[in-house]
């Protein structure tokens, strides 16, 4: 509430009381005198009574005045006591000074916190409590209070012994005895400042720990990548070294079996056939290990082209048909009419499908294998459904691990490198696709290759 708004009704009320008093008094004096002259014809008697009346009037109004003034003084005292106790009960320092910076009032807290006595404070200037760059800042804010009515500032409050405490000050302009003055409160914010500092320190600490940990991890990652690449380079070299002698073994076995070096007898032919089978199996293993190491070394580059899915599937079927027929199995191909072309790495898709279909034939004793292709949204799904031995639930999750062939009893019977599914899955990931498997033990399995119809940003495997 502004003082001016408060003053007006009060002022008019005082004026009204005074006017009413003057009118009533004048009317009383005039009418009472008239009455006295009517009652007492004798002028002397009337004059005496008029004197008594006058004295009584003065005494009465004096009594009234005394009562009114006493009440006002009490009210003012109470008001002062109230404001004093309010000021004293404030948690911070409270002060009041005029435009020249002369302190007019302050609370005891101010003396206690600053360490100065009341006499000293009365001679001090508000800026005496600040040091360094705070002086300018506080001065600007004080000017702002006198110019704009209020302002606040955080600064270090310097007390008599030189120690400094962080304070938050708010100031407000008030008019006191017709002059602008500043009434302000200062609150100790040591706790907040300390907590902020702790928080900052904690953050910095955390940041440096994170940075340290990040660099540790980076280093570990680098080491892991290096060791991964060394491992892959080693595997590649190994594969190369292993393939060189195999070139001789497979080559000369082939020459002998073709009778190019002269005729073989039946026993020799049978044994050379065994050598050839073993050598080819060894070669398949080496190729698979090499493939896996290539994917893991990130050296396998995806080369996307747009190709016809049905054509690819027919080629796959042609490749494995002989094998299926040998085992007396049917081999069906069902391509939905919506299936057209996709963009992917044709050679890799073929490799995955050959692996899945080969597996299906290998693990099926009766019945057969159906290959189904259909579109779902932006994906192509190719399912290889067999009526084979199926997979137990507990074996499903190991299925894609390298060198795992489920059911040891059957593995000897179903020869393979044990790397096919691991490679296929990695290749599928590389093509932004995936391989899922569903199976009922002893009833059959369904392996589904899902591929995006548009793949891929040419990138390396990781």
């Amino acid at each position: 509430m502004s003082e001016r708004a408060d003053m007006l009704p009060f002022g008019s009320r005082a004026l009204r009381v005074a006017i009413i008093y003057a009118v009533v008094s004048l009317l009383w004096i005039w009418f009472s005198d008239q009455a006295l002259f009517l009652i007492y014809q004798d002028h002397q008697l009337a004059a005496r009574w008029s004197l008594y009346k006058g004295v009584a009037f003065v005494l009465l109004t004096s009594l009234l005045l005394w009562l009114v003034i006493r009440r006002e003084i009490r009210l003012v005292r109470e008001e002062k006591r109230l404001s004093d106790s309010m000021i004293e009960s404030m948690p911070g320092v409270v002060y009041f000074y005029d435009m020249s910076g002369r302190f007019l009032r302050w609370n005891r807290n101010f003396e206690r916190v600053s360490g100065y006595s009341a006499d000293e404070l009365a001679r001090m200037h508000p800026l005496d409590f600040f040091r360094g760059e705070d002086v300018g800042r506080v001065e600007r804010r004080i000017e702002r209070v006198f110019d704009h009515g209020e302002s606040s500032v955080e600064a270090l409050f310097t007390n008599k012994d030189g120690s400094q405490i962080p304070y938050f000050f708010t100031g407000r302009r008030v008019t006191y005895r017709d002059a602008p003055c500043l009434i302000g409160i200062g609150i100790d914010i040591s706790d907040r400042v300390r907590m902020e500092k702790e928080l900052r320190d904690l953050n910095r600490n955390l940041e440096s720990r994170i940075a340290a940990r990040t660099s540790d991890l980076k280093e570990a990652l680098l080491r892991a990548e290096e060791s991964d690449q060394m491992k892959s380079a080693f595997l590649a070299t190994m594969s190369h070294e292993l393939r060189t002698p195999l070139n001789s073994i497979i080559g000369f076995t082939g020459i002998l079996l073709q009778d190019l070096a002269g005729p073989l007898n039946d026993e020799q032919r049978k044994q050379m056939g065994m050598v050839q089978t073993s050598a080819r199996h060894l070669l398949a293993l080496i190729n698979d290990v090499l493939d896996l190491s290539k994917v893991e070394a990130g050296q396998l580059v995806v080369t996307p082209t747009t190709f016809n899915v049905a054509t690819l599937l027919e080629r796959v079927v042609r490749t494995v048909r002989g094998m299926a027929e040998q085992q007396g199995l049917f081999l069906d191909l069902e391509v939905a009419s919506s299936v057209d072309t996709i963009t992917s790495d044709e050679r890799r898709v073929e490799q995955i499908l050959l692996n899945l279909v080969n597996n299906a034939i290998k693990f099926t004793e009766s019945g057969g294998v159906t290959i189904r292709a259909a579109h779902t949204d932006a994906n192509l799904k190719i399912s290889v459904v067999d009526t084979g031995i199926g997979i137990r639930d507990e074996d499903l999750r190991h299925l894609f691990s390298p060198f795992v062939q489920i059911d040891a009893g059957l593995s000897r019977q179903h020869e393979g490198t044990g790397l096919g599914l691991a490679i296929s899955r990695k290749l599928a990931f590389l093509l932004d696709g995936e391989i899922d498997v569903e199976s009922v033990f002893q009833e059959g399995s369904t392996f589904t290759l899902t591929l995006p119809t548009k793949c891929c940003n040419t990138r390396r495997a990781g």
């Binding site: 190369h240 195999l246 070139n247 000369f252 190019l260």
Partner: protein, 125 residues
Amino acid sequence: MTPTALIIEDNAQNRYLATFLLEGSGFEVLSAVDGARGLVLARENKPNVILLDIQLPGMDGYEVARRIRQDAMLQDIPVIAVTSYAMGGDREKALGAGCNGYLEKPIDPETFVADVRAFLGEKPV
């Protein structure tokens, strides 16, 4: 006319294997154990096809291929890289170095000669 093949290969058994298969199919076969000797033989004999191992002692197969392509006498001869290198990009590297084709080891004795014949008379890339 009897076609002549030059085999540049450091491994004696592999040299013998390829020689045996090609001679059995009516090729005349020359062989060299490294790139330098291979280039000399090529210049002296102008073979109809060169079978080139990539991992050779000293000058590697890529370098040999590049030199053949830069040699006015040899640049028309088809060159087939025969290698057990099989890491990503090997095929591209071999073709980039100037080879016309790429056969992976181990070679298949049943198809090897036919594969080589397919390159005879082919113009280099």
